[in-house]
Amino acid sequence: MSTTQAINNRSKTAGLEQESSQATSTSSVYDTKQLNLWYGDNHALKNIDLDIKQNEVTAIIGPSGCGKSTYLKTLNRMVELVPNVKTSGQIMYRGRNIFDKDYSVEELRTRVGMVFQKPNPFPKSIYDNIAYGPRIHGIKNKKILDEIVEKSLRGAAIWDEVKDRLNENAYSISGGQQQRICIARALAIEPDVILMDEPTSALDPISTLKIEELVQELKKDYSIIIVTHNMQQAARISDKTAFFLNGEVIEYDNTDTIFSNPSDKRTEDYISGRFG
């Protein structure tokens, strides 16, 4: 046998095919089963099945009008504020269906914080923005409130930037800082899940990267579901990605798989910018 043959034979035993998808074993925070939603006659969400894991970042992507924001707003039942909304199916949050008659919406929203597209701080001081939620929940002790404000601002990676101006109006700081104040406000009630609806679409690139880094930090303690139009953002920060189209989930997989080797041609066409 020649050296070449010997080497070839050896490499035969070492040859391997790599699988891109890997199974995960973390537990579910939200398990959506056959969810349908109608705005009047408009069937906006169709037979959605999604199992969202805890301590992960789940990105929801898809073209405008595909139902991704509707789905996000269903997770804290905010969608019910829209007139003529009808739903069927189940959303199990920590094992309980959030549509159950005796399920308290207030309790749900205490556990599930939300951050919106445009920073929307209250026209109050930075301190009062953060203390707002805890105060509603009956915390009046100044020392405890001080601690919550500092912890939340630290958690949102903005403490060092605002610690000397806590009494200034939240509108006096930049858009990127305001968005982190909104994240801190969400953290102040110690939620379990944070929903983010295009949280960086109104921000400049540096502020966007700061929020993205923050999301990576926050997932150690929270489960995050983020709707984004920015494909690269979804690829950078999420563990799983769901692709929505016309109210349906077309593909849901590990983000690495979605952006390197998606199974559905419609996903590939969307992420590579061929429609949408």
Partner: protein, 219 residues
């Protein structure tokens, strides 16, 4: 109209350049072997001179692909295609380098009469050329079944290379004055065997492009 018409057109232009580069490399290899067999020093010098064009084209392809990645942030198949183009260009550029090495050996050999083992080198060249041409076709058509056949031919090239080495060693014992040529022919055999390996590498890249998974075709 496709939303990314400009991107698609740039992407396929890079692929066209790659096909051009591949044909140049295969031609260079053919020309170098022709020069060797015919003791044609002028042709050997041309191979060395023309290699600069192959190198320049590879650089152009790389620059173009890097710009496309920077500007367009491609994902999935688009990204794989661009990465594969860069890798295949590098494989083909290497084949061009082997042609240069053979041309240099041809010049060193000059008019010296060849040992009979040169016939096997010619056979190796035919097989390697078949592989390279077939892999270019497979790449254009994205035909993985064609790519799989290439690996089978590679086994024949490896066997021939083994035979050439053994026979050259035997020839050496009776012809001490031919040791220099024997060494040169052994090197040339090595360049052919490596060229064939690059064709197999390219076939593996084609599998990666089409299926998004890594395959080892030497199994």
């Amino acid at each position: 109209m496709s939303v990314r018409e400009k991107f698609d057109s740039e992407l396929y232009s890079s692929q066209d350049q790659l096909i051009q580069l591949s044909n140049m490399a295969v031609n260079a290899l053919g020309k170098s072997v022709g020069a060797l067999l015919n003791h044609d020093i002028d042709a050997a010098l041309e191979v060395i001179e023309e290699d600069e064009k192959i190198n320049r084209l590879e650089e152009e392809i790389n620059d173009r692909v890097i710009l496309l990645i920077a500007r367009q942030a491609p994902v999935a198949t688009d990204l794989r295609r661009l990465i594969v183009i860069i890798k295949v260009a590098s494989d083909m550029e290497r084949v061009g380098d082997y042609a240069v090495n053979i041309a240099k050996e041809t010049i060193r050999l000059g008019k010296e009469e060849h040992l009979v083992q040169i016939v096997q080198i010619e056979k190796m060249h035919k097989l390697a050329t078949t592989m390279l041409l077939q892999v270019i076709d497979a790449f254009v058509e994205e035909d993985v079944s064609k790519a799989r056949e290439i690996a089978e031919i590679d086994d024949q090239v490896d066997d021939l290379y083994g035979e050439v080495l053994t026979e050259l060693m035997l020839a050496g014992s009776g012809n001490p004055e031919k040791i220099r040529q024997i060494t040169q022919l052994a090197f040339i055999g090595r360049y052919m065997e490596r060229s064939a390996d690059h064709a197999t590498n390219i076939a593996e890249q084609l599998f990666y492009l089409v299926r998004g998974r890594h395959y080892d075709l030497n199994k």
